[in-house]
Assembly symmetry: C2
Homo-oligomer: 236 residues x 2
């Protein structure tokens, strides 16, 4: 937690207040905060501030804003990823948010176990996003969309995300073209499930406008390949 995210309503008085038990526990256990310390705070979907701690009680920390700070820029990328195993979902969302993905799409794919769509973790996406924003020091949540059917998504939705100025790359081990690097334009990237897309899916993605690109001959787990690809694409 590198900033404390506040709801705009918590910042309406002259002194702002932190009252979430999760945030208070973190501040007390990990940061050992004291009156007079400075604290970085972000307002959800708004600005970021350096603040000073004015008062600490059991249920509230009160803050005085000192000065505005820059909110980090997003990466102009839509991350389209086959729904991962529930235990991977939290990390995947947090990491994507932390590095600054603008929009996240979770979709079905042949090798996604249908039971994954029933996981209670899917109800926690807002929370994972909050953790990712607080890690990064960001305040703007990415948009998240879920598509439980592969073909309708790829045929009806995906083409609307692709243009000459905004290509979509699907990571595919047997592609001849290499994944581009240090690009200067927005794009979408499409990441398959554990075990990869089946050939029918890769064909349908390509037929609907995706470029198949290779990352070399190492097989990298979904949750690891996401920061790996984003570091490569946006390295300017």
């Amino acid at each position: 937690m590198n900033i404390v995210l506040l709801d705009p309503r918590q910042t309406e008085s002259e002194l702002w207040s932190i009252s979430s038990t999760r945030q208070l526990a973190h501040l007390q256990q990990h940061l050992d905060i004291q009156v007079g310390d400075t604290l970085k705070v972000g307002i959800r979907e708004g600005k970021r501030y350096l603040t000073e701690i004015i008062e600490i009680t059991e249920k509230t920390v009160r803050l005085k804003p000192l000065k505005e700070e820059a909110v980090p820029a997003k990466l102009p990328v839509t991350l389209i990823v086959a729904l991962p195993r529930p235990k991977v979902l939290r990390r995947l969302i947090m990491d994507a948010v932390t590095v600054g993905v603008e929009k996240i799409i979770l979709m079905h794919s042949y090798r996604v176990d249908k039971s994954y769509w029933q996981t209670p973790f899917l109800q926690q996406l807002e929370h994972y996003i909050e953790l990712g924003l607080e890690q990064a020091g960001d305040t703007i949540a990415p948009k998240v969309e879920l598509y439980k059917r592969f073909k309708p998504f790829v045929e009806d939705i995906l083409p609307g995300l692709i243009s000459a100025d905004c290509p979509a790359y699907v990571a595919h081990p047997y592609a001849e073209m290499r994944m581009p690097a240090a690009i200067q334009h927005p794009c979408s990237i499409v990441i398959g499930p554990e075990g990869g897309f089946i050939p029918y899916e890769v064909d349908l993605l390509i037929h609907n406008g995706c470029q198949a690109v290779s990352l070399g001959n190492r097989i990298i787990r979904t949750e690891t390949v996401i920061p790996y690809v984003l570091g490569r694409l946006f390295s300017l």
Copy 2:
């Protein structure tokens, strides 16, 4: 597990044999292998082969090698990282191995809790490396070194890893120079602990030959920043 790693002794007869309970359980539970299927196999510190499954018993799977396959190249990088929390260690090692780091150094730092050096997970490094190799399809284990004292490592060991052709970059949020991208030479990268290096440590690293470079104003967790930086550095 995208290849099965075998000890050279398991490949001395005409038919090779898999007898590790972990590997057998994975093959049976996740891959549902049958006689006649092909299976990718790597020989530790050696070559990689496509094989055919000849026999499956409860305690052994016997294989016939069909043809040699390419072992993926390593990234010419030494990853120097402050020892992470035990629960992060497994993922960090697996990911570093999967993306192809040549050498891993775990070192102490002021914000590394001394208890981390006592964790039983440190006895499992060989196992994490094996998992990373089997994920990537690689056969060559990276070298791993541990340094429990920061200053002697930085003053006595680190300078020997740095040369004009092989710089060392320390990720530092306030550096003016950006982390390079798409480099064509070997390097070392130095990644701090949760909370970062203290100023004394950054100064000592720079004094001993490291270049401080920035990755922008997002704060990214250690385990996420490693694939992020490696994707950026080696994107040619």
